[in-house]
């Protein structure tokens, strides 16, 4: 049971909060409190209940049991706007911006400045400029449509919008995941200012370095229960992870095999595309995991998409096992033996309302067909094999895939591709938003697949992951590969140095936002 957390200074107090979703216990008897003027991190695996907790506080869902007190008064928020009215503002992981409306419209979407009953666009624009300046991002033009802004700018707009509601309690749910490092610093500064102004801040992030840098207090959740709350510095990272997954982690990453002669399965020669890829040459051998590193937006994702046939107008040569291929579409890439685990599993990797079995089988229907028909027996067997191999925790294969947790959903995506028996596997940030336990399973699986002869290209924004999983890491800058690191050279220092192009091997160019 958690320590006594109900202090008199608590600004927000939750008592006995419980919530069930169709038989799954999202939260169970949670007592929680946070104070003004402190940054309070909320940690836990996916499925631990963090997002449910946040949604209850922000008024998106209602608890089945329990109570909330805000500034000493009992409260209950039926809608997000009720929460906003009480000074509780949440910045969600999925942006709440309307892409076709302008920045100024989005920032003042609910209670815009009015004149004669109609929206005063000039005052609205000034308000937007002012709020963006408070974060330090004046370069965003309030007249631009959100749709025309890159993701990092959109996230800035989202933060400005939240700031504009003058929160007493600000909740950030993975709110900095797409920001450039420069903007992240600005946001940290903004949070520090809010903190000293007495705002209570709840911060959810899977990035340990961020949490360590920012948080004054942290609470760990596991399986819907509040496990422990502690001050900064009390618990080590290893302790925290253990609290989160509830068991000892011996090693986080599977062992890497000693270097063996790898015949190149995938070879790229002078691959170029628009401004994003500039004469990329790379080869990946059978059994190799090659990582793509570097700052965000240097072309890593474009490289994976180019190999998978999603991009048009790609020049250069791609050979698979010695034969040249020109992936003109994902279907063509699939026939060439290439598989891609995409960036956003909910919109790109899965058909959420469809069953787990349908999602698993969709890429390999030819293999389980007899003649023109799908063979039910073969399909059943293949689906069961896929589920068992990745140990996906499901109710029944006929359940909708939307009922699964994030980690299990990602496993379904991977299993789907494994059923096509690919020679080359492209992983586009596969562990983003996934709990620690499943991450480990995925690392182990990736190494197994490599050992079985696949060539794997692994893009990740997490340096630890790159160092832990990959045999070799290619650092990209401005669309070029500036350095390849392996063995003893594969350290965080070297990665960062190459990522920032400190050795100056690439031309001087601005980072893409």
């Amino acid at each position: 049971m958690p320590d006594a957390v109900l202090t008199q200074d608590a600004f927000l107090t939750l008592s006995g909060i419980s919530k069930r979703y169709a038989g799954v216990r999202a939260l169970e008897g949670v007592d929680f409190a946070c104070e003004r003027g402190k940054i309070h991190a909320v940690l836990g695996e996916n499925g631990a209940g963090k997002s449910t907790l946040i949604k209850i506080i922000a008024g998106v869902v209602q608890p089945d049991a329990g109570s909330m007190r805000l500034a000493g008064k009992d409260v209950s928020f039926a809608t997000p706007s009720a929460a906003n009215a009480a000074g509780v503002v949440c910045i969600f992981q999925e942006l709440s911006l309307m892409p076709d409306l302008t920045v100024a419209d989005n920032i003042s979407i609910v209670a815009p400045p009015r004149r004669f009953g109609l929206i005063d666009s000039r005052a609205q624009r000034r308000r937007a400029e002012q709020l963006l300046a408070e974060i330090g991002c004046e370069d965003v033009n309030p007249l631009m449509r959100v749709r025309d802004l890159p993701l990092s700018r959109r996230q800035v707009v989202e933060i400005a919008k939240a700031l504009g509601k003058r929160p007493q309690l600000l909740i950030l749910d993975e709110a900095t995941s797409a920001l450039t490092s420069a903007d992240v610093e600005k946001v940290y500064a903004m949070l520090a200012r809010l903190k000293s102004a007495g705002v209570a801040i709840l911060y959810i992030s899977h990035r340990m370095h961020e949490v360590e840098a920012l948080a004054d207090r942290a609470s760990v959740f596991r399986n819907g229960r509040h496990i422990e709350t502690f001050d900064k510095g009390v618990r080590s990272t290893a302790d925290i992870v253990q609290l989160m997954i509830g068991r000892d982690i011996a090693t986080q990453y599977p062992a890497k095999p000693t270097r063996k002669s790898a015949k190149p399965v995938l070879a790229l020669e002078n691959l170029s595309w628009e401004k994003h890829l500039d004469r990329i040459s790379l080869h990946v051998g059978a059994g190799e995991i090659v990582g793509l590193g570097g700052l965000d937006g240097q072309g890593q994702k474009s490289l994976l998409l180019a190999l998978f046939g999603v991009l048009r107008g790609v020049s250069g040569r791609v050979t698979v096992e010695g034969r040249e291929v020109r992936p003109a579409s994902p279907a063509a890439a699939k026939s060439a033996g290439i598989a891609l685990v995409p960036e956003d599993r909910k919109t790109e990797g899965l058909m959420l309302p469809m069953s787990i079995a349908d999602n698993l089988a969709i890429a390999s229907l030819d293999a389980i067909s007899t003649g023109p028909f799908v063979d039910p027996a073969k399909e059943r067997a293949a689906v069961e094999r896929g589920i068992a191999r990745l140990q996906i925790k499901i109710g029944a294969p006929g359940d909708a895939v939307s009922t699964l947790s994030g980690g299990n959903q990602q496993k379904v995506v991977l299993a789907k591709w494994l059923m096509t028996e690919p020679r080359i596997i492209l992983l586009n940030d596969p562990t983003r938003g996934i709990d620690v336990g499943t991450k480990q399973e995925l690392y182990r699986l990736t190494r197994e697949l490599a050992d079985q002869g696949a060539a794997i290209l692994f893009y990740s924004t997490d340096y630890d992951e790159l160092i832990g999983c990959c045999d070799r890491v290619a650092i990209m800058y401005d669309g070029r590969i500036v350095r390849e690191l392996e063995g003893a050279e594969l350290t965080e220092t070297n990665i960062i140095a190459s990522a920032l192009n400190i050795d100056g091997t690439a031309g001087a160019g601005a980072t893409h936002a």
């Binding site: 999925e94 709440s96 309307m98 409306l101 999603v310």
Partner: protein, 370 residues
């Protein structure tokens, strides 16, 4: 300053294109017409454009919310049939009685004279607005997709229209017909205002056809304020990203109902005018269907995306006018009448396929999916 203008222009490319296209086409039309640039032609065009333009405005609002209203033609027809009873203008008023499965329903007498006409017009527009409101409620509280909900309500409204006018008939006050289907000068003369239209300050405006004036008035007094209101912006927000709109705390249900209600209002105006113009009430089902489909085409040609979130009713007005002008061209160029439908169809197809040009320029195929 110039930067901002450039941004605004880029964001309204569809609208600007539609306006330019219409201007070019109408200019060519008047140049080719033997009596081009004359008041008579302008008035005739105005009469023929108004109803479709109103329906295009009506269709725009649900489309902005990424929905559709398949009942606009039916609402227009139903209101027209009501008008044929209420706007007779006879001094003693119109007795209202209906046959209903052998039952005789007497509903009293609807007032006549000028007061009756004004009341009648108000009632007709109110009926259209009510029909729209019902559409909105079915969509929001019934939680039925707009396409299917309005398909069903459209059938109901056409049924009511048929009930009112199983065969075309009815009568519209002649003065009303004359006043509204000619120029502002004639309007003033009929109503005996502004010195019967001869007032000096009025002269520069006397040539303007009443339909165009009405269109401009309705657009300025109804659409522009709506668009700049919080509810109007909520409509755009819902069409752009409904989930985000909910998270932002916008009144989604009210916005949806407002959108359909406004559509009903515009459709009612269109139906009212059509009845006045044709001096009868006609429950013509194929015509209602044609108007509905043409309203969708007008919206697309006017630069509003069927996916919602962007566009404007002003653009749809120009889209409607473009469609009408194209059919005017056939009249003057003596195209074999048998070939007219084919040309109309090809032009429609070409117009809506213009957006395909953007597809050819896309370099990342994921952008094709929304």
């Amino acid at each position: 300053m110039l930067d901002d203008l450039a941004i605004r222009l880029r964001q309204n490319v569809g609208l600007v294109t539609a306006i330019l296209l219409f201007c070019v086409l109408y200019l060519l039309y008047n140049l080719a017409h033997p009596k081009g640039f004359s008041s008579a032609v302008l008035v005739q065009n105005g009469d023929e454009i108004f109803a479709l333009a109103m329906l295009a405005m009506a269709q725009t609002v649900p489309v902005l919310m990424s929905g559709l209203d398949l009942s606009v033609g039916a609402v227009m027809t139903m209101v027209g049939c009501f008008a044929s009873y209420l706007l007779t203008g006879t001094a003693g008023g119109t007795p209202l009685h209906f046959e209903f499965f052998g039952l005789h329903l007497g509903l009293g007498t609807f007032p006549g004279g000028t007061g009756g006409i004004l009341l009648g017009m108000a009632v007709c527009v109110a009926i259209g607005t009510l029909a729209g409101f019902i559409n909105g409620c079915v969509v929001v509280y019934g939680r039925i997709q707009p396409i299917i909900a309005t398909l069903a309500t459209g059938a109901i409204y056409i049924g009511i229209a048929l009930f009112l006018r199983p065969t075309p008939g009815g009568k519209i006050d002649e003065d009303l017909n004359w006043a509204l289907t000619n120029s502002l000068g004639d309007f003033a003369a009929t109503l005996h205002i502004f010195n019967d239209g001869a007032a000096v300050w009025f002269a520069p405006f006397a040539w303007i056809p009443v339909p165009f004036a009405l269109l401009a008035l309705i657009a300025l007094l109804v659409w522009v304020p709506f668009r700049r209101s919080v509810l109007g912006r909520a409509v755009y927000a819902v069409g752009s990203a409904e989930g985000a709109a909910y998270m932002s705390g916008l009144p989604i249900e009210r916005a949806k109902i407002a959108a359909f209600t406004l559509a009903g209002f515009f459709a009612g105006c269109g139906g009212l005018f059509l009845a006045i113009q044709t001096s009868s009430g006609n429950a013509d089902i194929p015509q209602a269907g044609a108007y509905t489909l043409n309203s969708i085409a007008s919206v697309v040609i006017g630069g509003t995306s069927l996916l919602g979130g962007t566009g404007s009713a002003i653009g749809s007005i120009f889209g409607a006018m473009i469609l009408r002008v194209i059919s005017f061209f056939f009249r003057i160029f003596d195209i074999a009448p048998l070939l007219q439908p084919l040309f109309e169809g090809l032009i429609l197809l070409a117009a809506v396929s213009i957006g395909a040009l953007r597809v050819l320029r896309v370099k990342n195929t994921l952008e094709l999916f929304r």
